[in-house]
């Protein structure tokens, strides 16, 4: 986050006013000061953190503040231990790999709410200009209007564009899909949007399909070739794919079956399905190969992959015929495609593990699957409800004396030393005792 141009004092003023309103109008807490649990993104700049803490301690008399990281809280609020949290916020989208309640990887892009809102405003301005008689001044709709349109009738095509289907999927399935996609509904469905604030008040009738374009444009950048993106503006599905790719294989297996899409923009209808579908398509097309192109040998590489796959298909097809097995001489099958040998002991062990261990549903992995979350704040409530204390817990008196400098350098409080099995390294269950020192954990 770039704070060079930000007046921290002004941020403090605004934050203080917002908190005061929240306290007086909604929290309605009693006289006794309450502990505060803050959900912060793991890359919070220290000056901001410091001023937020300062205000909460000094102006609102909080006895202690616990800081928890928001992707982990989203994971908790989904009932998971590991997940790939895609937080589509205002300024940026952050993809965080969480494994066993610990952030293991993070990637970000600026394709998020702000860009989407701007695209929607652009679209509406263009449409309104078309309607207006020539010579009228250019319309410039306000943020509120654009945002209202976006949240009320904005949507996102839930399938990738048809021409890309043909690219991804084997030839057999695509034509049907394509026809289905391109079937134009008659009459074309339209939406009428009133603009009571413009002078004179107007209303705009716009084809329904148009309203899906900003999302296409802003979040998936369908018209731009991949090599034209800079590092900070990757489209969402590529970003998620790359994040998954850079995770270790075991973690990836768990994370890809636990994709949590959260953040304000994620409520856009169709967006979640679109992201998952795009991601699935990407994985089908590329596999887990970090190398995108093999240069001149790429054709051969692709061919080899295809052949392998065909061989496999052939074998499985033939496997159903009883006869062929004995007749066809052994074609050497690559080891990776062979059926693993069945071991009786393994089978028994697996059986035992299933009986005593966690239910099989918790072990799902290896396929793209989305999981709903209640959001980071609900996660924080869940944690607070169980009386779990975070690693980063800051006492009022110590902070007011030393500020953020008072934190010890240890990144983590040892969980084992307290002889307590916990929910994970970031969240531990504490007793009522006070800690001697405190740490900033991942925020240090």
């Amino acid at each position: 986050m770039d704070l060079a141009q930000v007046d921290i004092g002004l941020v403090e003023d605004k934050f203080e006013r917002a908190m005061r309103e929240a306290y007086n109008k909604y929290f309605l807490t009693d006289v006794k000061p309450r502990r505060i649990l803050l959900a912060l993104p793991p890359r919070m700049p220290h000056p901001l953190m410091s001023s937020i803490l300062q205000i909460l301690f000094a102006n609102f008399q909080a006895p202690s503040i616990t800081i928890l990281s928001s992707p982990i809280l989203s994971t908790v609020a989904a009932g998971l231990r590991s997940a790939l949290v895609v937080d589509i916020g205002w300024a940026e989208t952050i993809v965080t790999g969480v494994y066993e309640y610990r952030e293991v990887h993070e990637k970000r892009t600026i394709r998020a709410g702000q860009l989407l809102s701007e695209e929607m405003a652009k679209l509406l301005n263009a449409e309104l200009d078309d309607e207006a008689e020539p010579g009228a001044p250019k319309t410039d709709i306000s943020f509120e209007e654009a945002d209202e349109v976006l949240t009320r009738v904005g949507w996102c095509k839930s399938r990738p564009k048809s021409n890309r289907n043909t690219l991804y999927f084997p030839a057999r399935t695509s034509p049907i899909l394509e026809e289905f996609e391109d079937a134009v509904e008659t009459p074309e469905p339209t939406i009428t949007i009133p603009f009571p604030r413009s002078t004179p008040p107007t209303s705009l009738t716009i084809p329904f399909a148009e309203l899906a374009k900003p999302a296409d444009q802003a979040l998936f950048a369908t018209d731009t070739a991949l090599n034209e993106f800079d590092d900070h503006e990757l489209p969402l599905h590529h970003l998620i794919y790359r994040a998954l790719l850079s995770l270790p294989m075991d973690v990836r297996r768990l994370c890809m079956a636990r994709i949590i899409i959260t953040g304000g923009v994620s409520n856009l209808p169709g967006l979640k399905s679109r992201i998952l579908a795009e991601l699935d398509a990407l994985i089908q097309q590329r596999g887990w190969d970090a190398v995108k192109t093999y240069g001149s040998v790429s054709a051969r590489h692709e061919q080899r992959l295809r052949q392998q796959k065909e061989n496999l298909d052939l074998r499985t097809n033939e496997g159903e015929d009883q006869v062929s097995e004995s007749l066809i001489p052994d074609i050497p099958v690559p080891a990776s495609l062979k059926e693993p040998e069945q071991d009786v002991i393994d089978h028994k062990l697996a059986h035992l593990a299933l009986r005593n261990g966690p239910p099989p549903a918790t072990l799902v992995g290896g396929a793209v699957r989305g999981v709903e979350t209640l959001g980071a704040y609900a996660g924080a409530s869940l944690i607070a409800k169980q009386g779990i204390r975070g690693v980063v817990e800051i006492g009022r008196d110590k902070f007011l004396i030393y500020g953020l400098q008072g934190a010890t350098r240890d990144k983590e409080v040892s969980v084992v030393a307290q002889q307590r099995m916990s929910m994970g390294p970031n969240i531990e269950r504490g007793t009522a005792g006070e800690r001697g020192s405190w740490t900033l954990g991942v925020w240090a």
């Binding site: 007046d7 004092g9 009932g79 329904f208 699957r369």
Partner: protein, 588 residues
């Protein structure tokens, strides 16, 4: 700042003192404060001053600290909660249990936010015994719970009835029933696990559960499911001896633990067991919700079919208890949010500054220390006829009413600054202002008489009696030429004094002809782009008061015996910034 011109705002300097403390602590990248805090003139245009300027009526005054106290430097404490609709006082125990909303019959309309009424749908020709069914309806926009398919049997206890019915009339199971259901499902799952061949039989989930699952669980459902799941997991996790409740030595668990610690090592070793890590939620009843693209598609279809009017405006959505809804049919009446009566204390000395009466319907205060009673009130108005006629260059004032929204740039205009003293002691006032106002439109400001006295706020009759004895000089401070004489007050009364301020409003556009003020083109271009409210003429004035007052009782007690003589007076000083909004500069 939407107040009519001219206005006066007082600055509370609490943020300055605040940043002084914090900036020392904030080690990293605090911009170095170049000039001394005291030397800096107050800038009403800086974005931060929005947060420190208040009308005099909003400010409190701490008598112990002898300082103005604004909203930011008081601590508020809630004394009582009540519902603004039914004026029912809610005890604090209920707040803890039931939250911040009225749990009686008070609801706001989800469409227009006005208070809803309970109406009977009774058929007059065929009246039912109870007079029902009833609906909640909005007297303003005529929205009613009938539209979301909810009717009530009784006309009281609406919120309880409402909590049991979902939109469309479906019954919502209560928390207890849900818990029971969850237990049942879990048992069923457990039994199934024992019965079936585990590796193969993962497909045959019971059809009975499927039927229930076609309604996706609501957010509260998921939350309570998750909460219950984590609870069981944590309980299963921690051995009994470590639960935080029974740390006392009397409990058998901790007794066993202590025995374990002090017994021979052989038993200690074997006890240590590798704990099983907590698992993830595995199904809906544990709070896991798998994303389903079908709901997405259904939403899109619905928007396509029903259009703009069925969707919710952001304000309506945010007012709902569950803001994650999209369509009108999902609206629910909003229980009205409670209001509070709050006392205020000074943040630094903890003295009570304001305390309302405990009765809900009373608007009176037990304690109320207003700045109004301690700080002189400054007010500004345009000085009318005599000067403008004489100065001849003020055609703006020739109009019967002075137009504060169109100040003529470049033309000296006179204003009267009026100070009235609420204190019972005469006050010596020193005013100071910078000669030009900050901002891009620079106006020249001169206070013609910066030092003067304001009389004490004595009894009104004193004035009447004294005036005959010592006539107050009421002749306008004009000299022989008819010019306003500098260094003389304009007029004074019993507890007020007014002085003249001369203002030369600046030009909105930099003057290119006439005077050659210098300045290269680049600078001019920059100047031409005026921000919003740049034409606003606000004068920051530093006010310093000196007066002799009776000593505060406390100080009298603690102070040394010499000073504790009754009736001892002490010299006091007070200083603050005020901002006077004069008007808007008219474009030339």
């Amino acid at each position: 700042m939407a107040q009519a011109f001219p206005y006066t705002y007082y600055s509370c300097d609490c943020y300055d003192s605040n940043t002084n403390i914090t900036s020392a602590k904030r080690a990293s990248q605090q911009a170095p404060i170049a000039d001394d805090e005291d030397e800096r003139t107050f800038d009403p245009r800086s974005p931060r001053s929005n947060y420190s300027l208040y009308p005099l009526e909003h400010l409190l005054y701490c008598e112990d600290c002898q300082q103005i106290r604004c909203h930011r430097c008081v601590i508020e404490e809630t004394l009582a909660w009540f519902c603004p609709a039914c004026l029912f006082e809610v005890p604090s125990s209920l707040i803890k249990a039931d939250g911040n909303r009225c749990i009686r019959n008070c609801f706001n309309c989800p469409v227009c936010m006005s208070t809803m009424m309970v109406n009977s749908l009774d058929d007059p020709t065929n009246p039912s015994s109870s007079g029902g069914p009833y609906i909640l309806s909005c007297p303003y926009c005529h929205w009613s719970t009938h539209e979301i398919g909810i009717e009530f049997e009784k006309h009281t206890g609406i919120s309880q009835q409402l909590s049991r019915v979902a939109n469309g009339g479906r019954q919502i199971p209560t928390q207890k029933e849900r818990d029971k259901e969850r237990e049942r499902l879990k048992d069923a799952e457990g039994r199934k696990k024992d019965d079936r061949d585990i590796l193969s039989g993962s497909d045959d989930s019971p059809t009975r559960d499927r039927v229930r699952e076609d309604i996706p669980p609501s957010q509260e459902d998921s939350f309570s499911n998750l909460s219950a799941f984590y609870k069981t997991q944590i309980n299963a996790q921690s051995p009994a001896s470590f639960s935080s409740h029974d740390v006392s030595f009397s409990s058998p668990a901790s007794y066993a633990r202590i025995m374990n610690l002090y017994s021979t090592s052989s038993t200690k070793k074997q006890k240590r067991e590798k704990p099983v890590p907590m698992r993830e939620a595995s199904g809906v009843f544990e709070g896991l919700t798998i994303f389903d693209p079908a709901t997405d598609a259904a939403t899109i279809e619905r928007i396509k079919k029903e259009g703009w009017s069925t969707t919710l405006a952001p304000a309506q959505k945010l007012a709902q208890i569950n803001p994650n809804i999209r369509f009108e049919s999902e609206l629910r009446p909003i229980p009205s949010i409670l209001c509070t009566k709050r006392g205020k204390r000074c943040r630094s000395c903890r003295h009570i500054l304001a305390k309302p009466e405990a009765k809900i319907t009373s608007t009176r205060y037990k304690i109320k220390l207003l700045a109004l009673n301690h700080i002189p009130r400054l007010s500004l108005r345009a000085l009318s006829t005599p000067t403008s006629q004489i100065s001849a260059s003020g055609p703006s004032a020739s109009a019967p009413a002075f137009d504060y929204n169109a100040l003529r740039p470049g033309i000296p205009t006179h204003f009267l600054l009026h100070l009235s003293n609420p204190l019972f002691d005469p006050v010596r006032v020193t005013l100071a202002t910078s000669s030009t106002t900050p901002g891009k439109v620079q106006s020249r400001v001169t206070i013609l008489c910066p030092q003067f006295e304001v009389g004490a706020n004595t009894d009104v009759w004193d004035d009447a009696l004294q005036s005959s004895l010592s006539p107050v000089k009421r002749t306008p401070a004009l000299n022989a030429d008819g010019q306003i004489e500098a260094g003389k007050i304009w007029d004074r009364g019993r507890n007020w004094t007014s002085v003249v301020i001369e203002v030369v409003p600046g030009f909105l556009k930099p003057v290119t002809t006439g005077f050659s003020l210098g300045g290269d083109d680049g600078k001019k271009k920059e100047d031409e782009e005026l921000d919003e409210d740049e034409d606003l003429l606000e004068i920051p004035i530093f006010v310093r008061l000196e007066f002799e007052a009776d000593m505060v009782e406390q100080e009298r007690g603690i102070g040394d015996p010499k000073r504790s003589v009754e009736g001892q007076r002490e010299k006091r000083e007070e200083a603050f910034w005020a901002v006077v909004g004069v008007g808007r500069v008219a474009p030339t």
